[in-house]
């Protein structure tokens, strides 16, 4: 009888199941946990995490006769971004290592001498450089085929290259944008490859813009003037002789 009287107290929890020594979970709670776990699993299965993978070629060009110090801030080296659009699975993308690979290959082909500086390295180590470049990735956007109304994933990148004299005074900010599109997978499959492909193309687009339009960057025309050299015959590298002190320029 004692048992019968005690049942109503747990009647709405029905058939308790003992898990462990001191925990009691009812079937209803178990069912709830299963439902939540399943939902979490399905959402997790839809979410995509992309570590941008791929190599970047050295540009085919006559290098600028400059010794350049390159400083990669932590925000560039560890860059990651999560895109969550309405009614779209989450896409997390990590570009940190790819950023370093891209700029290493690019600058190695663009300049006669490249020295990598520590992120917090100050003036003395840069004394022998003609120029110091500090790139940052300011913004990244990802559009899925649903969002863009195409059958492709697109990635849009916005970098800022801070250009300094060796004495650390700012020559200017040079904003560069890049765009890449890659065929999407079908039925949500292949999202990782598509986003990776679009990101790689966007980064190549950025690298191409930097390589081909460097002489148009703020303050660079004046810096190159003493060399009296245009390293890319046939390109539209106008000498920038205007006052570009602390200028900001956007290259779309």
């Amino acid at each position: 009888m004692a048992i019968a009287q005690s049942r109503p107290a747990v009647a709405d929890q029905a058939d308790p199941v003992n898990y462990g020594n001191d925990k009691l979970i009812t079937k209803r709670q178990l069912s709830e946990i299963c439902r939540i776990s399943l939902a979490a699993f399905l959402l997790g299965a839809c979410a995509t995490s992309v570590q941008v993978d791929g190599s970047f070629p050295k540009p085919l060009m006559q290098p600028y006769p400059l010794a350049v110090g390159v400083r990669y801030p932590d925000s560039l080296v560890n860059f990651s971004h999560t895109e969550k659009a309405e009614r779209e699975p989450e896409v997390a993308i990590n570009l940190g290592a790819a950023n370093v690979r891209m700029f290493d290959a690019l600058f190695a082909g663009m300049f006669t001498e490249v020295v990598r500086l520590d992120a917090d390295q100050a003036r003395p180590a840069a004394a022998n450089a003609d120029l110091i470049i500090e790139p940052t990735l300011v913004e990244l956007e990802i559009a899925s085929p649903n969002k863009s109304g195409t059958d492709q994933y697109t990635v849009w990148l916005n970098y800022n290259l801070r250009l300094y004299r060796p004495d650390q005074t700012l020559l200017g900010d040079w904003k560069i944008t890049g765009y890449g599109q890659h065929d999407g997978g079908s039925m949500g499959m292949g999202t990782e490859d598509a986003v990776n492909g679009a990101a790689m193309l966007a980064m190549r687009d950025v690298a191409a813009a930097i390589a081909t339009r460097f002489s148009e960057a703020p303050g660079i025309g004046a810096l190159l003037l003493p060399q009296a050299a245009d390293p890319q015959p046939g390109s539209n590298n106008d000498i920038d002789s205007g006052n570009t002190e602390n200028a900001a320029q956007t290259d779309e």
Binding site: H182, D183, L201, R204, A208, P233, G234
Partner: protein
Amino acid sequence: MCLAATIILAGCMTSRVESTKDAATGIGKNESIVILSSSYHVAKPAEDAFIECVTDKAQSGSRKLQVYPADEFRDALFPWLEPRTAPAKAADLPEFLGRPGVQDVIRARKVRYVVWVQGKTEESNSNGGLACAAGPTGGACFGLAWWDNLSSYEAAVWDLESATDTGKVTTSVNGTSMVPAVIVPLPFIARTRAAACKGMASQLQTFIAG
């Protein structure tokens, strides 16, 4: 019977392949071509899968061509074949070829022609519908759905030796796919893109051989 089944399963298709030649062509035994998708700054670039298909087909058969891998070619000439920098028209070829190191890279790889491919496959006129239901004893579908596919592509062939546009090859394949369902759905898919790929690759072989 197998042939009939294949024809039915492939759906109904009509195809047209044309070429326009503006200059004489021809290719040496050791020379190769490279097949690239157009820059999106210029035209709608063909899908990666289509480029891969044409590349494969162009390298097969009795008139097969040597095709240099597109990615390796773009990398070797980086940054001059990226969407923002690639020559948009044949008149831009002398400027492209005049850039430092470009001629050397092309000569070392013996690439004679670059083929720029643009176009797409589109679906249109979706009609009908299917209704499916499932129960404890099984499921079934009833109905009829059909739609049209149009695959339309164009390839411009540029001669890197003479820095000229030698002409173009166009292919257009129209097809109707259908899925009738009486308990079990039976898809009859018109593979227009595959047919367009085959037609374009074959025509490119003839066009370039001269």
